[in-house]
């Protein structure tokens, strides 16, 4: 990526941040409702795990602060994805199913650049980041984490990798909408719902078959549990630190392959009304 592309990337993020800011600030009551309801909903979504950990003084061999760290990490990953890939870029099948890719294709920039920037919603998407940071800071302070710069670097690498895996998983399934736009319009949200529902649980103690599945076919283990084991020092081998970034690379390649194939198909069929299970008009 050259200097010119980097500059354009920053300018695009800037303009999308401006649009998001304008959208959220058109009405103060609307802004407060959106922001706080999002934060409360996300806290409520992980409260079950927290209450279990509280009741049983830990969960799956993890202490309470470790569980809180896991919850905070999972929320942070969700918040990063929402912040950078909002506006239905994350739920790519909706865009494909609704025939909205045409709008992106008539913009004079590579498709990847459009998809990387169009969903940047730092105001509306970041409501989860605040409670996530709070949980992480409390757990980190209690567990004595984060004193070394190396740990923080590894934390950032793991979090970005986890976000990349969730995003790739959404794109991998979402690409089906190129072939069955109407039928698969909601497939990205269904795929992510599976990931998000299982994300706040320590998976230790699962059998090898289930564990293998949760780290491959449904890579929910990489979205919070596996990287947290490494960051909390529960992992046995330092190689465990490489697993999530490697998995992210693999899933990104797979998603990129599926999306490219789908796009080729789209060039042939377009958003035509003649497609079986075709696009909405």
């Amino acid at each position: 990526m050259g200097v010119r592309t980097c500059k354009k990337l920053l300018r695009l993020w800037g303009v999308y941040a401006y649009l998001d800011f304008m959208f959220m600030t058109r009405d103060l009551r609307f802004f407060l409702h959106c922001f706080f309801s999002d934060a409360v909903l996300n806290l409520a979504a992980v409260s079950g795990t927290f209450l279990l950990a509280e009741r049983f003084a830990g969960l799956g061999g993890w202490s309470q602060p470790q569980v809180v760290f896991l919850l905070g990490y999972g929320m942070l990953v969700g918040g990063l994805i929402n912040t950078f890939f909002g506006f239905n870029v994350l739920y790519i099948s909706r865009r494909l199913g609704r025939g909205q890719l045409d709008h992106t294709l008539i913009q004079p920039q590579p498709l990847w650049l459009s998809l990387l920037t169009e969903g940047f919603t730092p105001i509306s998407g970041s409501a989860i980041l605040l409670p996530a940071s709070g949980l992480l800071l409390w757990a980190g302070a209690t567990l004595g984490l984060g004193s070394a710069a190396r740990w923080w670097a590894l934390f950032v690498l793991q979090a970005l990798s986890s976000a990349a895996i969730a995003l790739s998983f959404s794109f991998l399934w979402g690409s089906l909408a190129f072939w069955a736009p109407r039928a698969a319009e909601e497939i990205s949200s269904s795929a992510l719902r599976l990931v998000y529902q299982l994300k706040p649980f320590p998976l230790d103690g699962s059998g090898p078959l289930l564990m293998g599945g949760l780290l491959s076919l449904l890579p929910v283990g990489f979205v919070a549990w596996y990287p947290c084991r490494f960051l909390l020092g529960i992992a046995l081998s330092p190689w465990d630190g490489a697993a999530t970034p490697l998995a992210a690379f693999f899933f990104a390649l797979l998603a990129s392959w599926a999306f490219t194939r789908g796009k080729k198909h789209y060039e042939r069929t377009g958003s035509s009304r003649y497609l079986s299970f075709g696009h909405r008009s």
């Binding site: 045409d102 709008h103 294709l105 008539i106 004079p108 377009g270 035509s272 003649y274 079986s276």
Partner: protein
Amino acid sequence: MNAPAPPGTSASDIAVDARGLCKCFYQRQRSEKLSEVFANLLRPRVRLVEALRQVDLQVRRGEIVAYAGPNGAGKSTTVKLLCGILAPDAGRVRVLGLDPIADRVRYVGRIGVVFGQRTELWWDHPVAASFEWKRVVWEIPRPRYERLLGRVRELLGLDEFFHSLTRELSLGQRMRADLGLALVHEPEILFLDEPTIGVDVLAKRHILEFIMQLNRERRVTVMLTSHDMDELEQLAGRIALIDRGRIAFDGDFDQLRRRFADRRRLRLQTRAGEAPVLQGAQLLGSEGGWHEYTFDAARTQIAGLLAQASARSEILDVETHRAPLDEVIADIYQQWRQ
């Protein structure tokens, strides 16, 4: 029939060069009979829809071309192919010397597109925000952008709603804003797919005048689809008619009238209340002593009709004019269907 490029036209004078374009879609067929539902599950019945069949189309730089045809004739498919949204099954497309699919990024920066049934404006934002977004995505230098924006705002009358939310605009306002947005990067060619659909007469006049001015001053090539034939005739010097995926006519509007019958109207005011019967003309109706006829001027001389009329009745007044183009086109579509 395709209008050949005039002698001496160089390759650089050609803005759109499409040759042998073919595009097919497959349409599933369902039976209402229960007995056929299960058979359909195993062996779905599929109908081949040939949206484009060997379409050849050349448009010169600075030309305004109307592209018309009945519903489902292949107009929007052609526009999508020319915009780089869709690839042809066979044939070759070059617009401004570029392949719309292979050179997409470079290409779309030089064209403007308006789909009348969609909007490129940001729905939940003021119109102004969409223009600012366009400036960044299209990388328009600030001074040039300010100059063009000022011009577009003035000519299309955007000021009155420039700071209103797109979702709150009327259809006419939205279309004007969409057109302005498509033009603010100074495209060399403009594809307009039904740009005045649902728009009132005044807003339509604004839009058409603006397109003509743009073409006159900056020689912007315009390719326009619409079902409003009067609008097309007002705007374009040339019309390409497509029917069932083939270009059925390509020429100017006078040629079109001559080729598909030079339909005229004759109105006679007679002293007697009853309309005289005229051979070679068809009576459309009578009202207040006026009788209106339609006839094909290529076959029937108007002098002969007047002679017939004056022999049968006392003529008080005469009016004659060409039939509206819509009527001519409706006849053509009817002929094609038959």
